[in-house]
Each structure stands twice: as C-alpha cells, then as structure tokens.
Symmetry: C2
Subunit: 342 residues, 2 copies
C-alpha cells in the first residue's frame, strides 16, 4: 500500500493536482496560485539559478512555510542543470519538493537525490520516468519519495518510446510492488487535462495528477501570446501533435539524452524535416521566423509549441486557481457519473 | 446524454466488456464465452465467409437468440472484406453487432452500414475510429449505433498517428456533443487489460471497454502456442512493443490503407528494417522462420506478434469467462479504492 501524500503535504486538497515544472513557463506566480488552490505548485528551472531564486522569492513573499518547507516544488534537469549551483538555492529556500527529470544516466539521480537530501532533509525528492524498467531502477537506486509516471501523451519532453498511462501506470505499480517498492506513491502525467482524465489516473492507481498543457492556459504562466493562441486554437490533439527530436535541433545540435524527445504541435519546421529538407535550411528559416512579427507563431508556424495530446481540450485562459478547482471537482463528478451509470 | 447500451443488449452486465474482433484469433468459442459471462463476444472475419459461417454456427449452437439477434458481434474490414459476400452471412445469422473497422475511405462505411441495416435491421452497427475528426465524420455519414474509440496503445491495427484514450475519448465526447451526436454511446480500447484500465475508461466517458491483448490469453482464443508464450513473457509494454508498417510488409506489399499501421512486439524483422536491411531479405528471413520448428516465435523472433502496450500486465492463461469477470470486478474495486482514498 502506497504511503499517502496527504501526510507529507498537509495543505493539499484531494485529489492532488500538480503543475508540471515547465522550464521557462512555470514561475513563482503559477506555483503560488496552484498551491493556494490546494495543489502542488511548481517552478521549472533549467540553467539560470539567479532566475530560479527570483521566482522562489515571489513564492516566499506570498506563501507561508508549512512544516519548515516552502509549499511548492522546484523542477530541475540533471542532464543540464548544475548540481553545485542548484544546491545553495535549494538549501536556502527549502522547497517541499525537488522534482528531478532527465539525466544522462540513471545513476545521476542517485547523486542528485543524495546531495539534495543532505542540504535540505525535509524536502521530498520526486523523480519522473516513462517506463517500467526506469521506475524500478530509480526506485532501487534513489528510493524517491514519489515517482512521477509520465505517459507518451505528455507535451514537452519525455521518453521517446513508451505507453500512455492507461497501461504504464498499472504495470509500474504492480512491478514496483513485486520488487518491494509498493510504498512509493505514484503521480501520473500525460494527456490529463480535465476532471475525466484526473479521475482516470486515480482509477489507474495514481495518488495525484500532473498537468502541463492545461496550465499553458493559466493566466499566471509565462508564455508568448502567439504560443498560447496556438494552444487554444488546436483540436484533435493526437493528430495535431507529434513526438519528434527535430524540435530539439532547431537552435543547434540536440543536447538531450538519447532516451528523450518532445511532443509539440506539428509545425513547418517539423514538416520540412519530414520532407527531407536540410537541417541548416530548417534552422535558418526557424531563426528568421523567430525574429518576425509573430515570433514564429504566425500562420505558417516554425517555432516549437510544446503541447500534449490533450491540447484539443484546452480552449480558454483561466486563473490557475480555477483550473485546479475545476479539475478537482471534475474528477469527483466523473467518478459520480460512472457510479450512477453502473 | 448518450443512449444506454443496457437497453440494446439486455444480456450484458455492467460495465460492458467486449472482446476485440481479432481476425483469425477471435472465433465462435471465444465469442460464446465472453457473451455468456455478460460481455459482448465478437468474431473477427477477414476474407473467408465460409469460415465466418462455421464460427457463427458454433455460437448459434451454444447461445439463444435475444430479441431475434445472435448475442454477439461480427467484425469486418471494409477495405478488404467483400460486402456482397458478407451480407448473406449477416442476413442469415443476424448478429447483435456488426463492427466495422478500416475502410479505404470513410464513405465506404456509409455504404456498408446502409447495406447491413437493410439485410439485418435489428443488428447494430459499431464503427471503430482513432481520431476526433474521424469520429465526427463517421457520426455524420453513418450515425453508427456505437462508436468504438481506439487509442494509440492498442495492439494490432489502428490509426498510425494518434493519442491514447486518456485525451482522445474526452475530446471525442465533447466534439460529438457539440455537433449534435452526444447520444452516440462510446466504447474505448487501447491499453486496457484489467479492472484499473476499465475503470479509467469509464471515468473518461466510455460505456464499455474493448480488449484485444488481454484476450490473447483466453483459453478459447485461436492462437499459436509460441505466439501466446511471447505475449505472456513480455514486460514493460511501452518499450517492448512498437507501432510500425513493416509488420504489414512481411508477406508482400502492404495492403492496408495509408492511415493505418499496427502495434506488435519488437521483432528481428522490425529491428532489421530499422537498421536498413533490404525488404526482400527481411521477407525471405521471415518466410524461412515461419517454416522453422518455432514458426518464427522462437528466441530470435521474426513472426509478428500483435500486442498492445498492456501486454506487460497479461501473464496467465484463463478461461474467457474468468477474464470478463475479473476485469468487471476489478473495475468496481478500482473505483472503490479511489473513493476510499479521497
């Protein structure tokens, strides 16, 4: 039986709603709003630890500490974030959660979790993976406080190959239990954008749900207006998005570990690549588009718009608090509808 | 509000469990057992209508008609099954459901549904699609009695591009409702193999669930022992399966419409293709493997093993009745667990 999240994060309302720590999009304002609404708000960091400190100060100004930690999460990318630069920031602000995702090899998670726990023992370490074998490997090496299980529907970066949470989450749960890790709580992401998806994730065995794409439409998210317009206008998410490594090639060579790619809207850059256009030409067209009036988000879109398959269900801008409340209530409503039909 | 399936199929127990009409695998014995257990059993047909008649006679011998129809479904593939040859069989046996999947163009479904309804008006027409736009197009042209929404996790054939049911099903439901087709019931498939997946599908808005991969482990399924052994032994379904068109190229040119590919276990044939080996050589190695002692299912597997991402959760052979009962009870249990946790 998995440990209950309610014990460790006393401010949360059930079911737990978490915003994905989207680097460059999820800052202090979003994290504050999500936590205020009873969720777990998160800030996404990449390289710049001064910027992370700035965003954390926004939260510190707005939210009280809870059990000595700041009631939000900070997402870091071990393959590119610098551990030694991140540690002083984590030690200073002591976020409730340190979310790790994307390492060059799984052993790096071990180093990171150990060092994080050293400098801020009350912070919980959450690690995101996208396969059964990765979940077991990380459980064995790091004993994370939570495993975030990301399905193939997710927008932005994730495992290039994989399953959706429909089969991934139950198989992870069963396999962890078989290996003696049945006490590690799981949260789910990938394609969840509303109460129905959240209820489904809970039925699959998750204790909470993580949403990225839906929060692209939160008022507090840091986002280019053209990017948001593209997200709101898109329908038929399985057809209009695609997983591809080309999105990571547009500004220069791909720096992501080979295991990963990203899901985004189909763009002209993607289409050109699929049609065999030379990468140098694609990069040049992309660079020009970014300098244009629409910053590459215009009609013939060349800039990358990370989005999951749930993008077709995201169609209006709302305060993050309303998103959290709506998804939470929607989950209860979806479960009630099932019960009344059975 | 969608029409309730219980009205049209009075023998079913809630929630409805359906076996996918897997051509060559799902015969009369499986269909009989699934229906007897309170599900909707189905037979998969491709070319051979004499074989279909033989399988239907098995059912007719075992099950009583209900409201004048045989309480099972028959799956046909409009792009390759011959309508004129199928109609007399459908007229004679009058199955409760005629399940249509894979047409060269969506208009063919219109012809097929009209002719089927002409020769057996009490039979219900179910059509399986894998995108929002296809669901709307088919709803408009055919008004199917049920739309079967297939997510990208599904084993065997399906839309090459797409989303899992996590986002696909809710977006289909919302879009159909917006177009005035909110009364068409939806069933879901793709990655559902147990009660957790079934409960998730119901929460997403499905009225029933369709399983293929799980029924590969039913005693009544027609299957090579090596094929079944491979299914039972496989873990980490998102990593060990792959969607690819190469599976349809092994016996000669691919005859499937361009929209489709299939998901199966990663095989040597797939690996060779990915490594750039010439198709003639892959076909020759495949043909040799099929003639070998293990029929291509041996250690270096060359024969295609269609399976969905849920394959890692399928690990024992059971009577179909036990599968139906277990998944049904498992769905209630999963919903109860969520309720008790919230």
């Amino acid at each position: 039986m998995a440990h209950s999240l309610a014990d460790d994060y006393p401010w949360i309302s059930q079911p737990l709603i978490v915003n994905a720590p989207m680097g460059g999009f999820a800052g202090g304002a979003l994290a504050t709003a999500v936590t205020r609404a009873g969720g777990l708000g998160q800030i996404g960091a990449v390289y710049n630890m001064d910027e992370l400190s700035d965003q954390l100060r926004i939260v510190e100004h707005e939210l009280e500490r809870c059990n000595h930690v700041l009631p939000i999460g900070v997402g870091l990318l071990p393959f590119v974030s610098k551990l030694e630069k991140a540690l002083p920031v984590l030690e200073k602000f002591k976020p409730a959660v340190v979310w790790l995702f994307a390492a060059n090899n799984f052993d790096d998670y071990k180093t990171w979790s150990a060092r994080v726990r050293e400098v801020t023992p009350r912070s919980k370490v959450w690690i995101q993976v996208g396969s059964v074998s990765a979940a077991v490997a990380v459980a064995e090496s790091c004993r994370p406080d939570v495993l975030a299980i990301q399905g193939i529907d997710a927008g932005g970066h994730g495992f290039e190959k994989g399953a959706s949470i429909i089969s991934l989450l139950p198989e992870v749960a069963d396999t962890l239990a078989k290996h003696g890790f049945g006490d590690i709580p799981l949260v789910a992401s990938g394609g969840i954008v509303d109460g129905r998806g959240a209820a489904a994730a809970l039925a699959l065995g998750a204790q909470g749900v993580v949403m990225g794409t839906r929060f692209l439409a939160a008022e507090e998210t840091i986002i280019h207006p053209g990017y948001r317009t593209a997200v709101l206008a898109t329908t038929d998410g399985g057809q209009s998005t695609v997983r591809a490594k080309i999105f990571d090639e547009l500004r220069g060579p791909n720096i992501w570990p080979v295991l990963y790619d990203g899901r985004g809207l189909v763009t002209e850059s993607y289409n050109d690549h699929a049609a065999g256009v030379d990468i140098a030409q694609i990069r040049s067209l992309h660079a020009d588009a970014l300098k244009s009036e629409h910053a590459g988000f215009g009609e013939s879109r060349r800039a990358t718009v990370w989005a999951g398959t749930g993008v077709g269900l995201v169609n209006r801008v709302q305060p993050a608090e309303d998103i959290v409340t709506e998804v939470r209530n929607g989950a209860f409503a979806a479960l009630d509808r099932v019960r009344s039909r059975l």
